[in-house]
């Protein structure tokens, strides 16, 4: 493998390492150097676990030398949103307050499973404080810069994940998505993201935000990388009471099955207007390439968004109640007042939102009887400038941060799986299109994603950094 032409995708690295064209150590050392060389420009990593990465790489190389199976992700380099436990590292979750915590005693479930699969953990990356954020402008660790345009936001709250992947500093980053925190950085950074079905992947060992909505998933530059990572992490886990007991359904070897027989529609109404034209042009571009003309509507999506909003603010506020009582001044000001208000949300509103959620689940299930995949914009705009405060939506100037999630939040409410598929239209900043499926249909979504990738409609090349 020619490391000068790095970054390769994750599965390309795995193939090179397994076939002895490169060692895991060579790949790891090259990326550690690249992380250091670009850090000042991007500010993605908050902790680089170089010692661990080299030890994991050496273990992979030793296994190969000894003729043992080094694992399905042998040598695949990845980063972690800094809310995941890495043994021996303090899990800061983008906060100042958690810096006083003891280092994690053990790896998060997903980290332990990545290690077993032979993947190489390069370190932890920046995020919006306690994940209540869509821009990763962190008061304590600074803003993460978008590798496609350093003056712009990488999105959030998994912004360091999006930036580290787009800049070619790793093949995969594992992030979390509550209201859009994987899909938004995927859109702004022009990369792939997988937000699995709620309960599909174990969240054990990750610092929570909204228990009713939190999911974890990979961001990457190829569909095969998403699938391989998803397969490595999947499986029941008693450490996360929400994690499904359903057996995992491996997808890696099914993604090239094509899209024959799949029923695909474009989400109309609420999802078809508002924001920058490019967000909707991208959906049309994908729909046209798949020959999709059908339009489908979900009932009252704006109310679904409101329910996700109320559940998030209430559960998030309650989670942080003790910290708000004793250390309110140590919060990032952008998150603090939202959490404080969340603590004071009337219980009736919360329970109404939860009842609405259950009702809407039935409505959405009804829609999915006639369709397999729904297309919608991921974000109403491409990456905003780091100092941008507003966005234009249906002719109105609205505050930026609370409105980035207009198209991701309704989907979140009922835990549907989504692949964020990056579209790079000529002369435009990238944006992603959401491929939304019925619960537990990740395989179908990744098949559609792979077809879009194969046809060159959706791609995620590493950004060219001019530094």
């Amino acid at each position: 493998m020619n490391l000068d032409t790095f970054p390769a995708t994750g599965v390309e690295v795995v193939e090179a390492v397994r076939s002895r064209q490169a060692t895991a150590r060579e790949v790891t050392e090259a990326l550690l150097a690249r992380i250091e060389a670009t850090h000042a420009a991007i500010n993605a990593f908050t902790t680089v676990t170089a010692e661990r990465a080299l030890a994991e790489a050496d273990a992979v190389d030793a296994a190969i030398a000894a003729g043992r199976d080094p694992g399905p992700l042998a040598g695949l380099p990845y980063s972690l949103k800094n809310l995941f436990d890495i043994e021996g590292v303090v899990t800061v979750a983008g906060s100042k307050i958690n810096r006083d915590d003891q280092p994690a005693l053990r790896d998060a479930t997903c980290v332990a499973r990545m290690r077993s699969a032979g993947a190489i953990c390069l370190g932890a990356v920046n995020m919006g404080e306690y994940a209540y954020d869509f821009v990763t402008i962190n008061a304590h660790d600074g803003a993460t810069h978008n590798p496609r345009d350093l003056a712009r936001s990488a999105g959030g709250s998994s912004g360091g994940s999006g930036a580290s992947v787009a800049a070619g500093l790793c093949a995969i980053s594992i992030g979390t998505d509550t209201n859009g925190s994987i899909r938004v950085p995927s859109s702004f950074c022009g990369i792939w993201g997988l937000k699995p079905t709620y309960s599909r992947l174990s969240r054990a060992g990750s610092f929570p935000f909204v228990d009713s909505l939190d999911t974890i998933g990979p961001l990457g530059r190829s569909v095969a990388d998403l699938a391989a990572t998803y397969d490595a992490i999947a499986g029941p886990d008693p450490r996360d009471p929400v994690c499904t007991p359903r057996p995992p359904e491996p997808v890696r070897h099914l993604i090239d099955d094509g899209i024959g027989g799949l029923r695909i529609g474009v989400l109309g109404g609420y999802f078809s207007e508002g924001g920058a034209p490019v967000a909707h042009d991208a959906v049309r571009h994908v729909a046209r390439s798949l020959g999709v003309t059908r339009e489908v509507e979900l009932p009252v999506p704006e109310r679904a968004r409101a329910a996700a909003y109320v559940i998030s603010t209430t559960e998030g506020g309650s989670l942080h109640f003790d910290r708000l009582k004793t250390r309110a001044a140590d919060f990032d000001p952008a998150a603090r007042d939202r959490f404080l208000a969340g603590v004071l949300t009337p219980a009736d509103w919360y329970l109404h939102a939860q009842r609405f959620r259950q009702w809407w689940r039935g409505q959405v299930a009804h829609v999915f009887r006639d369709v397999d995949v729904l297309l919608a914009p991921a974000t109403p705009i491409p990456a905003p400038l780091l100092d941008q405060q507003t966005l234009t939506f249906k002719g109105r100037e609205l505050p930026l941060r609370p409105n980035i999630g207009v198209f991701t939040q309704p989907i979140t409410l009922v835990g549907l799986p989504v692949v964020a598929a990056p579209v790079h239209l000529p002369g435009e900043l990238p944006v992603a299109v959401q491929l939304v499926g019925a619960p537990f249909t990740e395989t179908i979504l990744l098949r559609v994603a792979r077809e879009l990738e194969r046809r060159g409609v959706c791609t995620a090349p590493a950004a060219t950094l001019t530094d």
């Binding site: 009713s212 009471p241 929400v242 009252v300 704006e302 109310r303 968004r305 409101a306 329910a307 909003y309 109320v310 603010t313 109640f321 708000l324 009582k325 309110a328 001044a329 000001p333 603090r336 007042d337 939202r338 404080l340 208000a341 969340g342 603590v343 004071l344 949300t345 509103w349 329970l351 109404h352 939102a353 939860q354 009842r355 609405f356 959620r357 259950q358 009702w359 689940r361 609370p402």
Partner: protein, 189 residues
């Protein structure tokens, strides 16, 4: 010709005002006495009292029980008129009987050759409280009821977020759900 806002004069009086503020917040009565010109001409109009002469001012300060710990300077303007006279105008926030109030304080400072800078006249007032909005009153009461300290610095942002949540939740709460819908059970025994 009268020199306006000589930088060194403004700096000196600003330092005096800051020192006075520190003495006030800690209720350092001897220090507070010393800041005022010890003269029958000195007048201080407080928020509720009219004090003529340094004697009345000192007697008032010595007898009052007060906690100014919640007081914060918001905006200080010093106008220096020549080298020996300055007017200090301060906006501040304070807690009056537990509720946040906006206050104004005006002091006329003069420099005496043997004493240095002293306050010769002062006037303090509070903006009359406006009745709290529904969400301000709710935030204050609910925070108190559940034991959540709500700093005056954070309160406007919290109230704004509650108003935003209320506005976003309105169509949701107005939406009529079938009566038999229960929340999704997640507890698995």
């Amino acid at each position: 010709m009268l020199e306006i806002n000589a930088p060194d004069v403004v700096a000196e009086v600003t330092a005096c005002c800051e020192a006075y503020e520190r003495a006030l917040v800690t209720n350092d009565v001897p220090a507070l006495h010393a800041f005022f010109w010890d003269s029958p001409h000195t007048i201080r109009f407080g928020a509720a009292e009219q004090l003529y002469g340094a004697g009345e001012i000192s007697a008032f300060r010595s007898s009052r029980v007060i906690n100014f710990a919640g007081r914060k300077s918001r905006r200080l303007t010093v106008l220096a008129l020549g080298r020996d006279t300055a007017v200090a105008m301060l906006e501040f926030s304070a807690l009056v009987n537990g509720s946040p109030r906006h206050g104004r304080q005006t002091q006329v400072w003069a420099r005496f050759p043997d004493l240095g800078w002293r306050v010769t006249a002062a006037h303090v007032s509070h903006v009359p409280p406006t009745p709290p909005t529904t969400w301000q009153a709710y935030a204050d009461s609910a925070a108190t009821a559940i034991g959540l300290p709500l700093s005056p610095d954070h309160r406007p942002g919290v109230v704004a977020n509650l108003e935003a949540t209320a506005s976003i939740a309105k169509p949701l709460l107005e939406f009529k759900l079938p009566a038999d819908v229960e929340i999704a059970p997640v507890f698995v025994p």
